[in-house]
């Protein structure tokens, strides 16, 4: 596996691509990388320090942990505290603060909260513990939706009625559309998230690109993928082109993964969705269809109506929209740190504030 990774991290290749970018770029461009994994690869590799000054990279809303709305976290906390429940989650959701506490606190107070690596593990727990209710916190973009859909289909097939999902899926294209439609938008080109495109394909992005006259490059998540994506994007921008191009050819097909998409639309329906820090975006989320209601934890545990207000201090919303950078927040690195996060962009390893805190804090605080 490492062989396949080192190829895309090779510094010699990186320098070649960087040189090409320098040659092509003639004026300033504002570019957004949508995916949190890309943000991390950029900061972690030090690539942002090596790019020509003309390129202003802003970090997009592509961290599913960050944009999961407060009420979903609060619902998770309420369900996880129930004695009959085994609450399963991906690891990085455990530290995301809800209104008062996080899942780690619920666990230390006696809640049975477990880290799993796939919804299928939660399904296995449901098989092994028929007397308990096993709930999986099903969050993420289009990338995790197929697996979460499959778990529900499988649970129905096996009659595992003690399994359910607290689902809160978000979709990338409506978020990009919302950003592009905003009067404050300054982003001129997008690196689309390679993994999302692997599932969904490129057609949605072609529509956006045509409508807003904006170039989009489906890009992988390794440093040299991102550099190559940037090069393709800068070439388009400099030439005044706006097309959808595919840098991540080793994974992304034009039509996406058809089976995965079918599975998703069988189980989920598209709904208006609240994004933490951003607000409600039309048709930007997925909800479990009525036909699978018994596997919907929000319905099962009757916490659908729970509504909460977000904190006023945290600027994660504007960071997620690419309008400000983490260092612009007065609380950054002071009141707000990974061990005591005010907002979700500081919590997840994929969050922009966390990436800046981890690798750039003193540079920011000394300014």
């Amino acid at each position: 596996m490492i062989k396949y990774l080192s190829e895309y991290r090779d510094p010699v290749n990186a320098k070649k691509i960087l040189a090409q970018i320098r040659k092509v770029v003639t004026r300033p461009w504002v570019i957004m990388e949508v995916c949190g994994g890309q943000t991390h690869a950029i900061v972690r590799s030090g690539m942002d320090q090596a790019l020509p000054a003309e390129i202003d990279l802003v970090h997009g809303p592509g961290c599913p942990v960050c944009v999961t709305p407060l009420e979903t976290i609060d619902r998770a906390l309420a369900i996880a505290a129930k004695p009959e429940v085994i609450f399963c989650s991906f690891g990085d959701m455990l530290r995301v603060p809800g209104s008062g506490k996080d899942l780690l606190t619920v666990r230390s107070a006696g809640g049975d909260v477990r880290i799993v690596y796939s919804p299928l593990e939660a399904l296995e727990l449901a098989r092994q513990n028929p007397e308990r209710q096993v709930v999986f916190l099903a969050i993420g973009f289009e990338t995790t939706a197929p697996g979460n859909a499959m778990a529900i289909v499988q649970a129905e097939r096996e009659g595992l009625h003690n399994f359910s999902e607290l689902a809160c899926h978000v979709l990338v294209p409506p978020a990009i559309t919302a950003l592009l439609g905003s009067p404050e938008n300054r982003v001129q080109g997008y690196l689309a998230a390679g993994h999302v495109c692997t599932v969904m394909g490129l057609t949605e992005y072609e529509e956006i690109s045509r409508r807003y006259k904006v170039p989009i490059v489906a890009t992988g998540l390794e440093p040299n993928d991102i550099l190559e994506g940037l090069l393709m994007l800068v070439r388009q921008l400099e030439a005044g082109r706006f097309e959808v191009e595919n840098q991540y050819k080793r994974s992304v097909r034009h039509q996406g993964n058809v089976l995965a998409r079918q599975m998703v639309s069988e189980v989920f329906e598209v709904v208006d969705q609240k994004w933490r820090g951003i607000g409600e975006l039309p048709a930007s989320g997925l909800r479990i269809r009525q036909r699978f209601a018994v596997f919907d934890a929000a319905r099962k545990f009757g916490c659908e109506s729970l509504q909460v207000e977000e904190s006023k201090i945290c600027i994660s919303g504007v960071v997620l929209q690419g309008l400000k950078k983490p260092g612009d927040c007065p609380a950054f690195g002071r009141e707000c740190k990974p061990e005591h996060p005010l907002g979700a962009t500081m919590v997840s390893g994929e969050g922009a504030c966390s990436a800046y805190y981890k690798y750039k804090l003193p540079i920011i605080l000394s300014v």
Binding site: M47, R95, S108
Partner: protein
Amino acid sequence: MNDKKNIMPHGQMSCPVPIMNHDTVQLAHGSGGKLSAELIDKMFLPRFDNEVLARMEDQAVLDWPGGRLAFTTDTFVVDPVFFPGGNIGDLAINGTVNDICMSGARPLFLSVAFIIEEGLPMETLHRILLSMEAAVREAGVKVVAGDTKVVPKGGCDKIFINTSGIGLVPAGIAMSAAALRPGDKVILSGTVADHGMAVMTSRESLSFQSDIKSDTASLHGLVEKMLRASPSIRAMRDPTRGGVAAILNEFAKSSATGIRISRDLVPVRSPVQAACELLGIDPLTVANEGKLVAVVEAGAAEVVLAAMREHPLGAEAVLIGEVVSDHPGMVTEETAFGGTLILDMPVGEQLPRIC
């Protein structure tokens, strides 16, 4: 001023609970990262404050008639109890032996205390004891005291082991994290993250197969060889919980110097690197149980490195960085792209990421 004192309500005269970020103890308080440090600084140190504890080394070095003693204690609660490459038994012996060795001391005597959950199969206990016996023999120490408690089912998870140890520091050896000077070299004895990833990938919830083995080993032989090669070793530590990142940060903090390393020079076995990639974990923050990091005067670095490489536990030893006068108290890493990043103290539990 006096008036104010007089009107202070009675309740405020007693010691309040220190202000912590959490009302209850979290798992992360035991992870060796920032929250562990907070727990020690705010809760423990103020209660037991003395000049020996204040040095914050992995062991206490005590002046005693006839020489200097190194004294340490450690408790082992690993899950699962058996993992590829070892089990809680040899871990408990090697861990305490290594903490003693890191002061340059020769380990001599150990105590062993067990907390056992009722229902533990005798066969399991026996297997653990057999590997403890082997580890004791390997380290050349004697177990001279012990204790056993059995708790009701659920009172602990299978078996917890505490070991304490005493060693003798040879004359002329005085290592301390506070002694680091700019220009000193940082040496790592071999690959990182083997132990932590062996344990993590053998947990039942993680269903992937790998050939990752724990590196649990007693480092006394390697340390002896290093000390014979050169007395110019400033400080040594074994990067257990919190990994290399945590101890480098401790070094930088204790000595008020900066440390700069090149990540590319840190050896990581290929399957370990792959597991870290999959789970989104930085190998520099993962526990090791048979490795050490030494900070050595620049002039002695090559001699120490050569001596280490002659020992099986130091065969892959490498120079990974140096002590600098820039950014005191902070550790930085150079990336392959030529950028500079901060290598921070891990925050808490390692939380595998979603994507």
